[in-house]
Symmetry: C2
Subunit: 206 residues, 2 copies
C-alpha cells in the first residue's frame, strides 16, 4: 500500500499511530480498515465500540461499487468527503439528497424529501446517511414496500434528536447495513466508511 497514490503518506503515518494505540480487537481485516479510517477522521477511539456491520454488508458493498451503483448521501458534506476518491476510482454516480430540494414543504425536511426522490430513482444504491435522522427514518419507512433493496445503508446520523431512534429502526430492517450506534456519527465518519469501502473494492484481492 505504501506506493499506492490513493493513500497519502500522512494517512499512512496516522494509520500506524492508530495501529499502535487501538489495543486488542477481533475485527476482520476489512472491518478494521473501515473502523481505522473512521478513527482517523475523528481522532476518536470510541468509534471502535460503536460500529456494527450486518453479515455480508462489506462484501455486498464492494460488489456494488464495482458494478457502478450510485452512491446517495443525505447532505452535501458527506458527498464532499466522498467525491474526490470516488472520482479517482470507480466514478459511480454520486447524489446528495438535500441538494435536490431547494425548499422544505409540508413539515418535512429537505433531506427527507430528497432521500425519497433518490430512492424512487435508485433503489439499488448505496445510502450513506451521516446527518439527518429524518432522512434515515423516511428511507426505513419505504424500504419494506420496495421490490429492489439498497446495496447498503450506512446509518450514522449525529446528534440529540431522533438520532438513536432512527438507528434502532434501521437495525430492524432486513437490508445490508453499517450502523454507528448511539448519538455519534457525522459527515467525516460517514465519508470515512464509504472511502474505506471504495479502497477495499479497488484492491483486486478483496
Amino acid at each position: 500500500m505504501t506506493n499506492d497514490p490513493l493513500i497519502h503518506p500522512i494517512l499512512q503515518q496516522s494509520f500506524a499511530v492508530i495501529d499502535a494505540e487501538i489495543g486488542e480487537h477481533s475485527f476482520t481485516t476489512a472491518e478494521y480498515e473501515i473502523i481505522r479510517r473512521v478513527i482517523h477522521s475523528t481522532a476518536d477511539f470510541e468509534f471502535k465500540d460503536l460500529i456494527v456491520f450486518s453479515p455480508g454488508a462489506i462484501e455486498g458493498a464492494i460488489a456494488a461499487l464495482r458494478r457502478g451503483v450510485p452512491v446517495v448521501t443525505d447532505v452535501s458534506m458527506v458527498k464532499q468527503g466522498i467525491s474526490g476518491l470516488l472520482a479517482k476510482t470507480f466514478a459511480n454516480p454520486l447524489h446528495s439528497a438535500v441538494e435536490r430540494v431547494p425548499v422544505a414543504t409540508e413539515g418535512k425536511t429537505r433531506t427527507e424529501m430528497g432521500l425519497l426522490q433518490c430512492f424512487a430513482e435508485f433503489p439499488e444504491a448505496i445510502y450513506a446517511i451521516g446527518n439527518a435522522p429524518t432522512a434515515l427514518l423516511a428511507l426505513c419507512e419505504v424500504l419494506p414496500q420496495s421490490p429492489i433493496q439498497p446495496a447498503l445503508v450506512i446509518g450514522a446520523p449525529v446528534g440529540f434528536v431522533s438520532v438513536v431512534e432512527s438507528k434502532a429502526v434501521l437495525a430492524q430492517q432486513n437490508v445490508p447495513q453499517i450502523i454507528i450506534k448511539g448519538r455519534k456519527g457525522g459527515s467525516p465518519a460517514t465519508a470515512a466508511i464509504v472511502n474505506a469501502l471504495i479502497l477495499l473494492a479497488w484492491q483486486p484481492e478483496n
Copy 2:
C-alpha cells in the same frame, strides 16, 4: 430565538438537551453559544474541555463578519458547512484553500499551498482550519512577517500527525484565535464555530 428562521426547531431541541446535560461551567454566554454548537455537531461533550478562546477573539470576529471580511477554510467540507448560513446572513466572500490548487508540488500539500495564496490576497480574513495541520503551520510561519493580521484564526485540525504540534505553534502567535486542543477537531466542529460566530454577529445586541 424560537421564531428565528435561521435556527431550525430540531436545532433548538438539541440545544435544550445539551443545556440539560452539560453540567456546571463558567463560559461566557458567547463562548457557550459556540461550544454548544460544536457539541451539537459532534455529539461529543469532550469538546467542552477542549476549546480555548484568546481574549477578544469572539468580539473581533463578530466585528469582522459585520464589516464583510472574507472567510477562508482549508478544505471543501468546512466551506460546505458554512456556506448555507453565510449566504443567508452577511454573504461574506468564502474561499476554500484546497480548491485553488489542483495538484500538489514540491512536497507541499494542496491545502498548504492554497492557504498561502489566500493569505497573500486576504491577510485580514477569518481563517477556519479544520483538517490540515500543514496549512495551519504554513500560516503560522508567514504571520509574523505580515503587517496585516487575520481577524481570527480557528485552529482545529483533526488527527494523529502534526495536529497537536500545529495547535501549539498557533498558540504562540500574537493573533486572535480559537483552538480545539489535542487531536480532536474536524470539519463539523470548525464549521460549527464559524456558524455560531455568524449567529452571534447577526444578533444586534451582541
